[in-house]
Amino acid sequence: MEQKRVIVVGGGLAGLAAAIRIAEQDIPVDLFSMVPVKRSHSVCAQGGINAANDIAKQQGYSEYQHFDETIYGGDYLADQAPVLEMANFGPKIIDLLDRMGVPFNRTSEGYRQLRLFGGSLFKRTHFSGASTGQQLLYALDEQTRRYESEGKVTKYEFWEFLAPIIKDGKAVGIVAQDMRTMQTRSFKGDAVVMATGGCGLVFGKSTNSVICTGAAAARCYRHGVWYGNPEMIQVHPTAIPGADKCRLMSESARGEGGRVWVPKKAGDTRPGREIPEGERWYFLEERYPDYGNLVPRDIASREIFDVCVNDKMGVFGENQVYLDLTHKDREYLDNRLGAILEIYQKFVGEDPRENPMRIFPAVHYSMGGIWTTYTKGNYDPSQPHGMHNPGETPPIGTEMGLGMQLGAPNNMMTNIEGLYAFGEVNFAYHGATRLGANALLSCIFDGLYNGLSVANYVKNNGGIDAEQSLYDDAVKHEEDYSKSLIDTGSADATPETNPYTIANELGVEMTEASTVVKTGERLEKAEEKLAGLRDRFSRVRLGDAASWTNQSLSFTRATGDMLILAEAIIKGGIVRKESRGSHYRLDYPDRDDDNFMKTTVAKFEGNATRIDLHEIDTRLVKPRPRTYGKTDSKASEKKQETAAAS
């Protein structure tokens, strides 16, 4: 019998952590990535990684509080048990990264430095300057290179995932294409881990890298893999709008004391730094006295949107607000935020240490993603716990296996046996909003904790029982599709059938219809627009007939997949007739737990998307109104509390 192998698709934090953990169990790993893994999108993460730590714990914080914050932040949409396991496991991840040599910022005594982040009143974010994702990715990249040189991991860089190969509901391999030679071939795998990240490019300009099309997830979706909460897309409040993308300005800028404001006088023409303190409107601090500038991202984005779009109070009359760090010491800023301040300076040409930065919200992260399951752990309270207050003794400890069962083969497995989804590409941890600095945590947690599940599945599985023709047919199918697209290459492209034009129009439509504020009417209009774009895509013309390194082919194929995913995002939004976390429906402004504290599960059947509602695991924590103490919402808070109690 052939030696068992695991395929990992994607070389960001989740993929690399999985590759390392699985290879360590003496199972060879084939690692696929569209880019050299060191250039994966995880490098863009800036602010930090959350975990309970000794200092915060002595101030009344706990792993359990981290869990409670994450569930509350996600507006009770996440299955609760996996989140508990992640929060409990967090400190172990920090220690491991520390051992790998991540240069975490240090205190004068040599301990790891901490900073504040959104959605928490405690310092529980570990960081490495303002390029934490980059530093974490490099540490995992180095360990992967070590295993590569020992022959335990085989990299396929510049290879694009085209399809999973599934036999009788079980994953047995993949089809992939070399982006340089254009060779398409199949690979056998006893298990396949998808760790392919988010889908920001569906929205045109986002904070994501150019590879974050969501196409890999969409290709699984087309092959019957379920997709959970597609409508849950995070819009980051602070980004720098640009011609090619929106560049993130990390939440750590606010964690380190950054203040968001606009001039009290609409259209004030004075430069920000010349406007006296008394003539500035710090609207987040005014509306949220407890959390201030550190309210979760969906709330900050909506408030900024409200101030600019509805109140027309944006800086210089445009859609932008100030993010101000000029009151902080230069050396302090350079030490803690140097990397992001340089980004601002390089792209805007102003020194953010001297002038307040001008920022606006941008699409950033997908909480939704491939649907995954798990085996619940030992903690099973007789009734859900109420709100957890700082300093209270947590109802349970922190040992492994309380939330999810350690090593259970189905942890983060999709509805297809042997096919897993790790990191941003799954839907598991962040519910309806992700808290800042929880993404790096969930990616690495998946790789390490659930990498063991993959290894166990492979060890206990009888091996691949699939005939060669299954693989050959899968390759042929993809080759035929590629050829049909390439054959259009020499024909004259019109804007009507130009793939770049179609993708641009998709981005504009999705940004307008399905980001900060949504309505049923607008979403339905978007559905029609998507149908039109799909029709145009069926007549798409490539513009490049080359059989060597044809980027137009890759982009065009991804555009077709983005159209499929966009449909799921819009349909999920239409079905969810409520407001929850990042999903804000103007026509249904309240959260509706009775009908919608459920996962919207998109299923691709008969060439169309169907949305089902699935029950979620709410055994551990009782839902409460998610207001973050907003001053003008005390009345509605009361109302929701009464409703929740009844």
Partner: protein, 277 residues
Amino acid sequence: MSNTATTPATNSATAKQGRTVRFRILRCDGPGKPSYWSEFDVQPELNANVISCLKQIAEKPVMVDGKEVTPVVWDSGCLEEVCGACTMVINGKVRQSCTCLIDDYAPRDGDTITLEPMSKFPVVRDLWVDRERLFHNLKRVKAWVPIDNTYSLGPGPKESPESQQTHYKLSECMSCGCCLEACPQFTIEEDESKWNNAFIGAHAISQARLFNNHETGKQLKGERLDELAGPGGVADCGNAQNCVKVCPKEIPLTESIGAMGRATTIHKIASFFSGKK
């Protein structure tokens, strides 16, 4: 939402909006094929960079003579200058194309910007080069911390803030290859079997320094110094000091080369007296 850029950039005060900028691009259809120049006119968007102009060209690849051609191929990723992918030679100087703002490079109507692929790596197509050798050289110096495993074994070593700042600076290297493009000693080598004896380059020497300074990374110090003492090692540096001038992250590469040069010398002497070599 942010689909329209509103923030004025550096030179937007002087740069004329609605102007036409000419892109002169050195193209190549694939390995072994001849290189040739193509010219495109672009009207840059507000806050345009080289990437957004290349995107415009991809959407409508029509040359200045009106001839429609295939879209230009290039490599890119984060577009925030942290991934290193979009490195190319712009107006004769190597740099990332994402941070190359058109208002700075071509503020006037009719200004020209020249784009070429890096010359020290084999061209895949057009502006896309194959930098595999750069990653290979990280293996040569074992640029990693040899941890036991990924199980829970407590924290890593404590570190002073000063040491962390040095460590972080070196660790910001994104393997873009600017230092290699600018180095007279680093020459293109398409034959993989010769990589282990060819000059390893400033980036890998600096990574060796990073891991030799780490408490656990030190365990492999001898092996790293053996590699740097061998053919294509630190002695091959010609001290042109171009590397440090082009590093986009301002990593003190010449300082690293100096430190590793001294360490290699001491290592050789120590090895000689201990009878190892």
